[in-house]
Symmetry: C2
């Protein structure tokens, strides 16, 4: 592995394998061609053409969501979509725009709608050295079981804000009191577009840094993390470079952290690939 | 103006207006079609075809540089290239690769070869507020006269390293002792591709932050900056948002600084455009 391998893995998207999903005049998703073909069975909800698919269901978000839910039900029965996650994401042409509908998280890659998450780099500084709190994901996680993760990370469910999600996930995943996590500093976003077995992940991760008290030990409450460990950031980055121990997108968040804090330096042969590879422009 | 206007201005590159400049198997530049046509007069140095131009001169960097210098001489005489800057940049297929030739800085946009620079955000922190040192460029600067600038910024000339350039420019432009500027923290790179009247700027700016002593006042030595001023970073960013007072690419460096330090926050309507718009992937 190398840094660039992690970046490539998260950006393996090939536009030739995909058609846009259109609502009105806006693209709201990216359908792999096999997934688009599977929607032909639902002509009251989707019009599937050679070069695009169009959402036909209209009305307010609740009405459209119900129509799409019927489709997702059938896709789950066909095993094209994993079972319901019972957590819905807003689907909109861009961040901040009113949602066209809400979609169960499990169906998001099938439709290739953009998903937003929050990742927190929880660090301590001791004698000018940085250490990062790292979590080990539970073995029963659907995505990336047993992989290493940021101290807090979560998807932004419909109707929830960025900071609100950070505070909620901070409590559930790491028992971080909101009085502490409110001090987290927003530091940009990591973005990538990735084809997986299910479809397209078109992801934007809001990134925060939190300077944590040296005596605070994170503790998981929701069963998603089995163990936390404090690691020197230089060791974290060498592990990113050499292994796939971290969840695929967490590698990118950690590289962004290392860049911003001067842990990676311009004499690293991959410096510019990292500096220009973590922020796929949105379109 | 808005943040996105600054990003768009620096990324107004249109591939349809350009052909690649090829050396061996590598692209080393981007020639606007009118500039490519102007090279047809030099068939011993360049082979100009419909969809590309090829460097024919071969040999070591010194030999090729000399052949290209003859061409640049003629282009200067025709006013296609501004007069010699007497400072040369390495031309290479990618950062760190051996140079194919060296090119006078004034001719870089004509050939659209990638140029590298260093920008330093010199800041002080007082009562949890950040202030940035800002310079006013001299009225006789060829590029962006009278515009506001980072405290230190300079191109990386051939054979010089990133940190070496930072230290040298820090002394010349702002009288920063090298003992101080050695403490600057590398924080990534800003990249963009821009068409100007001269051709294509394909720029990569290495970015550093320097926490400056509160009692240090920068002083210019080389005549390139007429005045330095300490400004609250929030005021700097509002000035970026509303005006064109800063040099075109400095807006991007300042937005990157504001993002990394939590001065811009996710509730800003342009947050994601900024977070994903400052790091054009290299190709």
């Amino acid at each position: 592995m190398s840094f660039r391998d992690h970046i490539r893995l998260c950006n393996n998207y090939d536009p030739a394998r995909v058609v846009p999903l259109i609502a009105g005049n806006d693209r709201i998703g990216l359908l792999r061609r096999d997934n688009a073909a599977a929607l032909q069975r639902f002509p009251h909800v989707f019009a599937v053409e050679d070069d695009k698919a169009r959402l036909l269901a209209s009305g307010d978000a609740a009405v459209v969501s119900q129509a799409v839910e019927g489709v997702v039900d059938a896709l789950v029965a066909e095993n094209r979509v994993p079972k319901w996650r019972n957590e819905t994401f807003d689907v909109a042409p861009r961040w901040g725009a009113p949602p066209v509908f809400r979609l169960d998280r499990g169906a998001v890659p099938f439709f290739g709608t953009r998903a937003y998450g929050v990742h927190l780099n929880g660090y301590i500084r001791e004698r000018n050295e940085l250490y990062l709190w790292v979590g080990r994901r539970a073995p029963d996680k659907r995505v990336a079981p047993n992989k290493l993760d940021n101290v807090v990370a979560g998807g932004i469910g419909n109707g929830h804000g960025v900071e609100e999600t950070l505070l909620k996930e901070g409590e559930e995943e790491a028992s971080i009191p909101t009085g502490l996590s409110k001090g987290a500093v927003p530091a940009g976003a990591v973005s990538y577009r990735m084809e997986t077995s299910l479809g397209i992940r078109d992801d934007v991760l809001f990134v925060y840094d939190l300077d944590m008290p040296a005596d605070f030990v994170p503790e998981n409450r929701d069963g998603e993390i089995v163990r936390f460990e404090l690691m020197p950031v230089a060791a974290v980055i060498e592990r990113v470079r050499a292994t796939e121990d971290f969840k695929f997108n967490v590698n990118l968040v950690l590289l962004d952290f290392a860049l911003r804090h001067g842990v990676l330096r311009p004499d690293d042969p991959e410096y510019l690939e990292v500096a220009t590879g973590l922020h796929r422009p949105l379109d």
